[in-house]
């Protein structure tokens, strides 16, 4: 209402519009809300140790299962079954989720975009081999593949990232390949070829830069999916070792207290929900902004 009034006043006085009036129409609701959540998530992940009031692994057996005590109390969100501070564990859990999500997105993006561009541009045998590999890996149910890999490698953060990488590169590879197939027939690529550019130069200088927008959108969805998968594997007890607090392990530990201590599963569950929602909103918004055609047709990646 205040904003409308200011607009009316500004129109009446015929002054140039204020900064807020210029920004608000351009603001994308999904991008704003999603971006805000993701930014908070990143900041909490980075500055977690400074924000957490307690050591996330510090046990206080005499103070176990304390319900949330509110702002100003020693345990804002209560304590868990071993007397550990839930708020501190949530913050440190964000750090693990952030690390896993970014590692998975960047490494899988590097592999997937690279292979997709090669597959699409070169075609022939290279395309055949890469796409058959994609089909073979894609045939495994993702969670089952993750559990199998973890069973072989054992628990650990690095192993968990490896398990999540196993299939995450495929969406990049498939989409990038299809775009590369189209790009290689474009005039600027033909011109570069005529000027004597090598295949590597064409892929690096002319194909890849045109794939960034699409990859960015895939990356956001891959990030959300990686966080869910990390939580799922940790929930199943095959993720990270118990001494590393993650939202998934917090949920797993809360299972046997679900009927007697509601705050144990609620807060990590909410964190996963809000973070994934935020990343998906941001991904949606990026897709709308970077590729409006997809928005019109209602199709997604």
């Amino acid at each position: 209402m205040v904003f409308m009034q200011s607009l009316t006043l500004e129109s009446a006085t015929e002054k140039s519009p204020g900064w807020l009036a210029r920004i608000v129409p351009r603001l994308h609701a999904k991008a704003f809300s999603g971006g805000l959540i993701v930014l908070t998530f990143i900041l909490v992940g980075i500055f977690g140790p400074l924000l957490a009031p307690h050591d996330p692994n510090k046990q206080e057996l005499t103070a176990m299962l304390k319900p949330p005590q509110g702002i100003g109390s020693p345990h804002l969100l209560g304590t868990d079954n071993l007397g550990r501070d839930i708020f501190s564990r949530i913050i440190h859990g964000a750090r693990v989720s952030l690390l896993v999500a970014f590692a998975v997105v960047f490494v899988s993006g590097f592999i997937g975009i690279g292979l997709g561009a090669i597959s699409g541009y070169l075609g022939g045998k290279a395309d055949f081999i890469i796409q058959k590999s994609v089909e073979v890996v894609w045939a495994f149910p993702p969670l089952l593949l993750g559990i199998t890999i973890m069973a072989f490698l054992g628990q650990g953060l690095f192993n968990l990232i490896l398990a999540l990488l196993a299939q995450r590169w495929i969406p990049y590879c498939r989409v990038v390949r299809s775009q590369s197939l189209s790009l290689r027939e474009r005039d600027f690529v033909t011109a570069a070829r005529c000027l004597g550019a090598t295949k590597i130069q064409i892929i690096a200088r002319h194909i890849l830069p045109n794939l960034i927008q699409t990859s960015l959108v895939i990356g956001t969805f891959a990030m959300a999916s990686a966080i869910i998968s990390e939580a799922s594997l940790s929930f199943l007890g095959v993720g990270v070792p118990p001494e590393i607090p993650t939202w998934g392990t917090m949920l797993a530990d809360a299972r046997i207290y679900i009927s007697t201590a509601w705050w144990l599963p609620l807060f990590p569950g909410l964190c996963i929900f809000i973070t994934v929602l935020g990343i998906n909103l941001l991904g949606d918004a990026l897709r709308d902004i970077l590729d409006p055609r997809l928005k019109r047709t209602g199709s997604g990646i």
Partner: protein, 512 residues
């Protein structure tokens, strides 16, 4: 249109009668089947293919307990083997009950017993029961149709602890006719009071009562059918109990006790378990040094864990066994009590003044609060100078590793320890099993002596000396014995056994 009242009366009568009959039938049906939520998995169709406490009980119920331990009498008593005698220190003669018959009506003979012991327990490569059931038995032979002789490689006073409630007798005729796998899968013949009705590995096992069985007369109110449902999650068991999906739930954790008791249809029954819980340490670096093993024992504050996480539902162990178990010595020394400073000194003596890595492995959901209890141990170990971390592999992975001797440091329980002889041999005698891989000639000598000693007083002395060495040398830290909580429907009268075995013949279905 109005129907005359006179015409309505017979209809109403029939209607009420049908409802009454329906309710009665429903109640009768409900009394016939009892479902039990159990924690241990049933992974194989081969009754000799695993060695876990619950399964010994179930298979004993199907194939007939060879003999059983009566906790009320505090002694072993006959079943399929109705009596026995010690012919000489290495020869035991068992006399079979002639009334025991297999499902198809054929009598159980000494040949079936010999076949089961020799071909299934001892020689079959799939058998996991050689150490825990056969133990010192090297030969089984039939004397006549209903008499069998077991020969041991050395005098074995506690032989009944190996075979009672454990030794599974299956039909030789079925094995000869169909071969092992088909006989186990499709033609399971037993001589117990129940017969196998259905077995889906990892999910459930259903047994049905044999009303003609001699044991069935002992308890006419025993359920006609028992369903053992594998429910690893405690919340799942409690929810199933509250919904009347199951009528008996094993191992309710202390924090869920009140939730069960609040239901008017349910009750909690507690029993002192004879299962000893311990931290096993393979004598490989760094646990090859006695000081490191002792440091682990001094680091754990067992009293605090019992009073907080276990809410007092456990009793601390100061040695391998506790009160009520055969051979318990209240004056056993040394006692490796909680003393983190002593742990640090011991680690320094062992050359680890800057700390040492220790990865503790635990099952999850197999024992009461196993993961929570071991998680609580990690900061205690760290405070005493270890760099400890917890690993939680899946049970099949962990159990396979333990049986192969590839897990260096783990939390485990050993059930059915009425008499500790078999358990001590299984885990600590040189060359028995690779579960710990510990070897101490002095301990071996004492364990051999106690096993050979038929005089109870002397045997207790040997056991006490052996347990003193074990506590001192610490190949394992003995933690506690749980007080096990069972959730029961009020329509069930059942007193759980300290060894957590569940015999259908001990269950009574009573009216609500």
């Amino acid at each position: 249109m109005r129907l005359p009242v006179r015409k309505l009366r017979p209809m109403a009568f029939l209607f009420l009668l049908s409802i009454g009959l329906g309710i009665t039938a429903g109640r009768a049906a409900a009394q016939k089947r009892v479902s039990i939520g159990v924690t241990e998995t049933i992974e194989t169709l081969n009754p000799y293919g695993d060695s876990v406490s619950l399964l010994y009980g179930i298979w004993s119920e199907i194939t007939g307990p060879f003999c059983t331990y009566n906790y009320d009498k505090g002694d072993f008593e006959g079943r399929l083997a109705e009596r026995w005698k010690v012919e000489n220190p290495t020869t035991w003669v068992f006399y079979l009950n002639k009334n025991y018959k297999f499902n198809d009506g054929t009598p159980v003979t000494a040949d079936d017993v010999v076949h089961s012991m020799m071909n299934r327990v001892i020689k079959d490569p799939q058998s996991k029961q050689k150490a825990s059931v056969a133990g010192p038995i090297v030969k089984a032979e039939a004397i006549d149709k209903h008499t069998v002789k077991f020969t041991t490689d050395k005098p074995t006073a506690p032989l009944l602890g190996f075979v009672c409630d454990r030794f599974i007798v299956t039909s030789k005729a079925m094995f000869d006719k169909y071969g092992r796998d088909v006989a186990d899968k499709e033609h399971m013949m037993g001589a117990g009071p129940y017969r196998l009705k259905e077995l889906i590995p990892g999910q459930r096992l259903v047994i049905a009562k044999r009303p003609d069985h001699p044991e069935a007369k002992r308890n006419p109110r025993a359920p006609d059918e028992i369903v053992y449902r594998v429910m690893r999650e405690t919340e799942q068991r409690v929810a199933a109990l509250l919904n009347n999906e199951i009528q008996i739930a094993q191992f309710i954790p202390p924090h869920l006790r009140q939730r069960v008791e609040q239901s008017p249809n349910l009750k909690i029954t507690a029993t002192d378990s004879v299962e000893i819980m311990f931290l096993a340490m393979q004598p490989k670096p760094p646990f090859d040094k006695k000081e490191v093993r002792q440091a682990v024992c001094h680091a754990i504050n067992r009293d605090q864990i019992i009073s907080t996480l276990l809410e007092g539902f456990a009793s601390r162990l100061d040695g391998p066994i506790g009160p009520g178990q055969y051979g318990y010595d209240p004056n056993l020394k040394p006692k490796l009590s909680y003393d983190p400073e002593r742990s640090k000194k011991l680690l320094a003596q062992a050359g680890f003044s800057k700390g040492v890595d220790a990865a503790l492995q635990t099952p999850v959901g197999r024992y009461t609060l196993d993961k929570q209890l071991t998680e609580a141990m990690i900061p205690m170990l760290n405070a005493a100078g270890f760099r400890a971390k917890l690993l939680t592999p899946e049970w099949p992975t962990l159990w396979a590793g333990v049986q192969k001797g590839t897990v260096p440091f783990y939390y485990m329980g050993r059930g059915s320890v009425q008499d500790p002889s078999a358990a001590l041999h299984q885990y600590f005698h040189s060359g028995e099993t690779p579960r710990i891989g510990y070897s101490n000639p002095k301990l071996d000598e004492l364990l051999d002596k106690e096993q050979a000693e038929f005089d109870p007083k002397k045997r207790r002395q040997y056991l006490s000396q052996a347990m003193s060495i074990l506590t001192e040398d610490a190949p394992a830290c003995f933690m506690w014995r749980h007080k096990l909580l069972w959730g029961l429907n009020r329509g069930i009268d059942y007193k759980p056994l300290p060894d957590a075995r569940i015999f259908g013949m001990d269950i009574k279905v009573v009216k609500k």
